[in-house]
């Protein structure tokens, strides 16, 4: 079953209606170089986090995003500064792409007071509300209703912002998904729910393949039950994702209706740091998928366009390595939260 799923992952590239040709996306290429840098940095950040986890500097769980970067990068590249988003616990790259500091993000993973959430949330609960990042959530599907309500609130207050909601294919079988997207569909009919749902379909709900967890694997068909149009996009191709994101975000903004994307992607690492042996998928399947690494896919495009060469790639890599090393050092040197943090933020102040 897993093999079949992997073949399907590749197929997304040919199926995606708007697979971005160089010509179509030419205007975006300069900023694509910027996003290439961010994707490389996020990848190295995750690799550093995995090492820090093994050294015992990071506790609890660690879910890394390697392999899926093009999805979050493509959508966050098209978000406006005052737009907002929610995601699940695989949230490090989302924070970094949105502009959160590498050091503060790493410090949160280390459980330090300079972390994005003062060390009180950890890897699964990154937050940066000043940048419109309303958090990573650790109960699968549990954040989807929040995003639906947030989208309603944005429109209720009279603005034209949109709310993005990232989720995995596994979350599509939670009650939260169905209950809240049905409401999004209802509210959207009145133009009151500018929501962009992004299904990051990495083909596995933890270790259960899509076919083993969903009776209907046609994701757009499932979303159509709630009057939400869903476009498929190759989630390994930044330019394709970005192009789809631009259309979807504009649609949600203009209409106040929820829209969705299914981004076919692949998670290179295990589900979490403890998922070492990955008995649910073969080594060949993983190495096949790695051949379409989203970073290499974008790299090739940028080379074709003459915007990147070997030395450029090398320079970007070195720069990213330095930035990540600095972040790790910042986290290492940051203090653990002081004991008085224990009882802070349980309730609002002054009540």
């Amino acid at each position: 079953m897993a093999k079949r799923a992997a073949r399907k992952a590749g197929r997304g590239a040919r199926e995606a209606p708007g697979a971005a040709s160089l010509r179509e996306t030419q205007p975006d290429l300069d900023s694509a170089l910027h996003w290439y840098r961010k994707m490389v940095t996020a990848r190295l950040f995750e690799e550093e986090a995995e090492r820090a986890f093994r050294r015992g500097r990071i506790g609890g769980y660690l879910h890394v995003y390697s392999g899926q970067e093009a999805v979050a990068a493509g959508f966050l590249a098209e978000m406006r500064e005052d737009d907002i988003f929610f995601t699940s616990y695989r949230d490090h790259a989302h924070a970094l792409f949105r502009g959160s500091s590498l050091g503060e993000t790493m410090a949160e993973l280390f459980g330090r007071v300079d972390g994005l959430a003062r060390g009180k949330g950890g890897s699964m609960h990154l937050f940066d509300v000043s940048r419109g990042f309303y958090g990573g959530y650790a109960i699968v599907g549990g954040h989807i209703p929040l995003a639906v309500g947030a989208a309603y609130a944005l429109r209720y207050k009279g603005g034209d912002q949109v709310c993005l909601c990232f989720l995995g294919d596994g979350a599509m079988n939670s009650g939260a998904f169905h209950e809240s997207l049905n409401m999004a569909g209802l509210w959207g009919a009145a133009g009151a729910c500018p929501l962009v749902v992004i299904v990051e379909n990495n083909l596995y709900a933890m270790g259960t393949p899509l076919e083993g967890s969903s009776a209907v694997t046609d994701i757009p068909a499932r979303l159509s039950s709630y009057a939400i149009e869903c476009r498929q996009v190759d989630g390994m191709d930044f330019l394709a994702v970005r192009q789809a994101a631009s259309r979807l975000i504009t649609e949600a903004r203009d209409s106040g209706r929820p829209v969705a994307a299914e981004a076919r992607t692949y998670r290179f690492s295990g589900h979490g740091a403890a998922d070492v042996f990955q008995p649910y998928r073969s080594k060949e399947e993983v190495s096949d998928a790695r051949r379409r690494d989203p970073i290499s896919v974008l790299e090739d495009r940028l080379r074709e366009a003459g915007l990147l060469d070997d030395s450029g790639i090398e320079a970007i890599r070195r720069e990213a390595e330095e930035a990540v090393a600095k972040a790790a050092q910042f986290a290492e040197e940051s203090a653990p939260p002081p004991p008085q943090e224990l009882h802070r933020h349980v309730y609002g102040e002054g009540v």
């Binding site: 907002i84 929610f86 972390g115 994005l116 959430a117 003062r118 060390g119 009180k120 949330g121 950890g122 609960h125 937050f127 940066d128 509300v129 000043s130 309303y134 958090g135 959530y137 109960i139 549990g142 954040h143 989807i144 209703p145 929040l146 995003a147 639906v148 309500g149 947030a150 989208a151 309603y152 609130a153 944005l154 209720y156 207050k157 009650g175 939260a176 169905h178 209950e179 809240s180 049905n182 409401m183 209802l186 009145a190 009151a192 802070r344 933020h345 349980v346 309730y347 609002g348 102040e349 009540v351």
Partner: protein, 326 residues
């Protein structure tokens, strides 16, 4: 002071708060077109429109979760659960998101959310519609839990709830909806964590909340005929709990009875008895007694249902017990 019903106290407060603050919105099943199962929201759809009085599908998890998202974005949603029994479908949202998001975000968001509806037994609603869930919710840090016993308490606590920064579990009682009482006409609020001594007495303390306050007062009147003066405390809020008022009273009367409708094990009365033991152990002349519902799923037959619920007789008995009187 105007005399109005508990139902009208809630409804009027909702209207006043909606008039005062456009960020207050109402959500729930059948609160608009249907006018509300208990008519708390009667005519509010017409008055405030669909954007502010939102009829939801039968999706507690979905709409409570959406309300949390609205609250994080600065709205002040007041969500009706048709009865608190149905809130169990939304338990994950209440417990894992509403109660914790301020904390695990390191204080980056407020969650000014009120969830309200009737708690406890009605009349022959049987096992799935008769539960008292206050101890469940009062267990979780991050939530505030209130249980008004009178129209004045209903008004004062609801105002504080709507104007606050935290998720509030607001427990009404269907048997009280038609009860009338005086409500101050000013902009009356009751701070959370402040209990009220509703009857002064020197022989024992009876601690209660919600409908049980009325049982306690009835028992106190009957005890007075026997020459026993019971002090009765209406807690009003269970989390935060006004430990000071409870302990101060028990230390003065040396005896205490705690009354709750819910099941005995791990209930609110157990917590309150522990607070009294911790704060006034040396001053107690008897162990703290608990009057509670029977430890069974609620039966349908009226005679069995009555046996499962606390009565003022049981409060009188418990009072005699702590006084060592027959």
């Amino acid at each position: 002071m105007a005399e109005i019903s508990y139902r009208d106290a809630i409804r009027t407060t909702l209207i006043e708060e909606m008039d005062r603050d456009p960020s207050v919105v109402l959500m729930g099943e059948d609160i608009g077109l249907y006018q509300g199962t208990f008519r708390i929201t009667a005519d509010l759809l017409e008055r405030f429109g669909r954007q502010r009085v939102i009829d939801t599908p039968i999706s507690e998890l979905g709409f409570v979760g959406a309300a949390i998202g609205m609250a994080m974005l600065g709205l002040r949603p007041v969500v009706e659960v048709m009865t608190w029994n149905f809130s169990l479908l939304a338990l994950d949202q209440i417990v894992n998101n509403a109660a914790k998001v301020r904390y695990f975000s390191g204080g980056q968001v407020d969650v000014p959310l009120v969830i309200r509806g009737p708690n406890g037994a009605g009349v022959q609603l049987s096992a799935q519609h008769s539960q008292s869930l206050e101890a469940l919710y009062a267990h979780f840090p991050g939530l505030r839990v209130v249980a008004p016993a009178t129209p004045a308490e209903a008004t004062g606590l609801l105002r504080t709830a709507i104007r606050g920064k935290d998720p509030v579990i607001y427990l009404e009682n269907a048997a009280l909806y038609s009860m009338k009482g005086e409500v101050p006409e000013s902009d009356h609020t009751i701070p959370f964590g402040s209990a009220e001594v509703v009857r002064r007495g020197s022989d024992l303390t009876v601690v209660a909340y919600s409908r049980m306050v009325h049982l306690a007062l009835d028992a106190a009147r009957r005890l007075a005929d026997e020459g026993v003066e019971a002090e009765v405390i209406s807690l009003r809020s269970l989390r935060p709990l006004d430990e000071r008022t409870i302990v101060e009273s028990a230390a003065r009367t040396h005896r205490a009875v705690v009354v709750q409708e819910q099941w005995r094990p791990y209930g609110a009365a157990a917590e309150i008895a522990a607070v009294i033991a911790e704060g006034a152990f040396d001053l107690l002349d008897a162990p703290v007694a608990r009057v509670t519902g029977a430890d069974v799923p609620m039966p349908y037959a009226r005679n069995l249902e009555l046996l499962a619920l606390p009565t003022s007789d049981a409060v009188v008995e418990a009072a005699r017990g702590v006084l060592y009187r027959k």
